[in-house]
Amino acid sequence: MDSNKNSKKIIILGLILLIIAGLIVVSLKGVNVSLLFGKHESIELKLGKEVNMKIINEICREVFQDKRYVAKELEVFGDSFQINIKSITDDEKTNLINKINEKFETQKTVEDLNIHSISNKRIRDVIKPYIVPMLVVFVIVSVYEFVRFRKMEAIKFVIDSTWKIVLTEIICLSVVSIVRIPVDDTVINIFMIIAIAGLIFFIHKGEKELAKIMSEERLIKPFSFRQNFNKKDIFFIDF
């Protein structure tokens, strides 16, 4: 029993430390956003020849080495491409053009590269559309829980399940910020799925508890005339 309590304490302490560490990382470094989410350079080039994206990716790997990049095809004619990268140096530009000329037998110059600085997507802008629908869902589900689990301690049940879901989300957020997982739409969606799964889990748990209470009630409940006789019979007995 004591060892159980101790392990519980250790887990709680670990979780608190994890959240604190997450908070420190977020306050110092911020959340790590994916390349296309964050501020980056977009390099466009119209080659005038059919572009093979495999070759472009190979060139990018050679030129940018460890740097993260995303190469995409531009337009529908298949003769242009776009490389998205955090930043690009003059040497890398020259190297990139040389390698492209070499592989595609073109005579492009660094001036042909169309470079745009693309600002970051704000996380609040991405999260904002989700807030109202998620709140509406939480309110409706909470009302449902109040009604469904009225035979249990409904308020306690709702508060308990809500704070546990919120805590799970905070823990996940801490893990994401400590491990520096690049945040994008998909990560936000996974957070949402965790919240949904949490809701389903607690309702499932609630249903089990409710079934238990109902079966206990059935066992404890004294013999009831109302259940076993119709009105006429009751009248007759009363008489």
């Binding site: 995409k72 337009e75 745009h116 600002s119 869902v137 969606n189 799925i193 949904i196 309702i203 249903e207």
Partner: protein
């Protein structure tokens, strides 16, 4: 009889699977054509139009009216056209030279009044599209908000917008067709500046600050005529009333001349000189119309006809939509910063078709593994459940295509989630069948299962009703997933697995 029913149902499941995974092909003009619609992918999978807008740095020298405080009160116009200081000097010289040489006018003539006294000084100024004082973070943010509002009003939800706080550069990614992209271009590149200008002089009489609300109305009298209806605020209404009394047609009786001296009758004709004072209604430096008022506008509402009277619905809708665009721009306010389009590219998704094929293979392998687990654990019933599960996925795939549900990465995750939920249902059902095989198993499992997934049902409804495309597609996938799961399991799974003895 029961056996035949079961065989028919299994055949239906197989048929559904064949249709969903291989398509329905017929030969048309020698070409095989698939009648099953393609999956509609969202912009994160299909690609997007990327519009890059930069802050305009254009500047023009303009001859303008300036009030005592130094504010510009309009460009100097002559007969509806902006003139320069030189133009004015040369024309005044010509007028001086030509004095007294003007021919006497005809019996009835129309001329515009040029007798206006403008209480402002005139000077030539270099006017920047974006003066230095507007180039700040606050105005860039304000512009972004206005653009977002405009896009919302126009029902454009599938886009991402980024703004650079320092340069003001705006990047809009949109997954739509050319028609919608051109609307976006219009909404971003047009500041939404509305002016009623004195046609004779060029003095601005009214502007956006006088507008309360703009809307689109139409008259339906054999033909359809679209009107842009502008309701002015209190100050604007007063101005409109005043303008409508000033800019009118004035007929003055000038002289009475006997028509023909020789005629017997003493009939006399009255010569009339008609003087009209016009106003120009200008939207973003483009004159929408030049007119004068026929009556006093006391109600503070101005109706401007857009296009012509139309008999074709398509033409009418074009007029209506362009009027709606202007109304939305007027309602959302003037962009503090003027933008111009730098580039417009279609950028394909970084997720290639090969990646999607790989994902499909992974899902197929997962389905095979789940099927094997079901078969090993529940034997014949498990095998039937595996076939039924494949049938459900096939049906869901067909319905999502016909319902034109946009599949984004997030919708894909939701799809996998919904497919997983069906497996959970089947597992619960098979387990219950092992315990109680009295035909009640389905009912009991349904009660337990659907009471548990209430949050998912709520999410399906709320998200489906949400406009934002990324949330809507998740909602649609979950909605169709749960709805079809209920229907499919009631019609097929229940019949095939309930009361069945291995």
């Amino acid at each position: 009889m029961k056996k035949i029913k079961e065989i028919v149902m299994i055949l239906i499941v197989i048929l559904l699977s064949i249709i969903a995974f291989f398509g329905v092909f017929t030969k048309e003009n020698g070409i095989w054509k698939n009648h099953l619609p393609d999956v509609s992918y969202g912009m994160d999978l299909k690609g997007a139009r990327e519009l890059i807008y930069v802050v305009s740095n254009k500047e023009d020298e303009k001859y303008v009216y300036v009030d005592e405080a130094g504010n510009i009160k309009g460009e100097v116009w002559k007969e509806g056209k902006a003139i320069t200081e030189d133009d004015e000097k040369s024309s005044s010289e010509e007028t001086t030279e030509g004095d007294g040489q003007e021919e006497t006018t005809n019996s009835e003539e129309t001329k515009t009044s040029d007798t206006n006294e403008v209480p402002y000084t005139k000077e030539t100024r270099t006017i920047k599209k974006n003066p230095d004082d507007v180039m700040n973070k606050k105005n860039f943010e304000q512009s972004k908000k206005i653009i977002q509002k405009r896009l919302k009003e126009q029902g454009i939800d599938e886009y991402h917008i980024r703004i650079d706080d320092i340069t003001g550069k705006i990047v809009i990614e949109n997954a739509s067709d050319n028609e919608e992209v051109s609307r976006i271009e219009q909404l971003v590149a047009n500041p939404g500046k509305f002016q009623i200008i004195d046609y004779q002089t060029g003095v601005v009489l009214m502007d956006n600050s006088d507008i309360k609300q703009a809307s689109v109305v139409y008259s339906n009298n054999e033909t359809y005529q679209t009107y842009l209806q502008i309701q002015f605020n209190k100050a604007g209404s007063e101005k409109l009333k005043e303008i409508s009394n000033q800019y009118i047609e004035i007929k003055e009786e000038t002289q009475e001349v006997p028509k023909e001296e020789n005629t017997e009758t003493t009939e006399e004709d009255t010569d009339k000189e008609t003087e009209k004072k016009y106003v120009s209604i200008v939207f973003d430096d483009t004159t929408m119309m030049t007119t004068y008022f026929g009556e006093e506008m006391a109600n503070g509402i101005l109706q401007i006809s857009v296009g012509q009277a139309r008999t074709e619905h398509k033409d009418f809708m074009e007029d209506y939509n362009s009027a709606k665009t202007i109304a939305d721009m007027l309602n959302t306010g003037v962009l503090p910063v003027t933008y111009e389009l730098e580039t417009d590219n279609f950028v394909k998704s970084a997720i290639t078709e090969a990646m999607l094929e790989t994902l499909k293979i992974v899902v197929i392998i997962a389905i095979i593994i789940i099927s094997l687990i079901l078969i090993i654990k529940f034997k014949k019933k498990g095998a039937l459940a595996a076939v039924l599960n494949i049938g459900y996925i096939a049906l869901l795939s067909i319905v999502l295509r016909y319902a034109k549900v946009e599949i984004t990465i997030n919708a894909m995750i939701s799809l996998i989630f919904v497919m997983g939920i069906n497996v959970v249902f089947l597992k619960m059902f098979l387990q219950k069948c092992q315990i109680s095989n009295n035909g009640e198993a389905y009912k009991q499992v349904c009660k337990e299962f659907y009471l548990t997934i209430v949050p998912l049902i709520v999410i399906a409804i709320v998200f489906t009703l949400t406009q934002y495309y990324a949330i809507n597609s998740i909602g649609m996938v979950i909605f169709w997933g749960i709805f079809l799961q209920g229907l499919y399991n009631l019609l097929l799974t229940k019949t095939l697995l309930n009361n069945r003895k291995d």
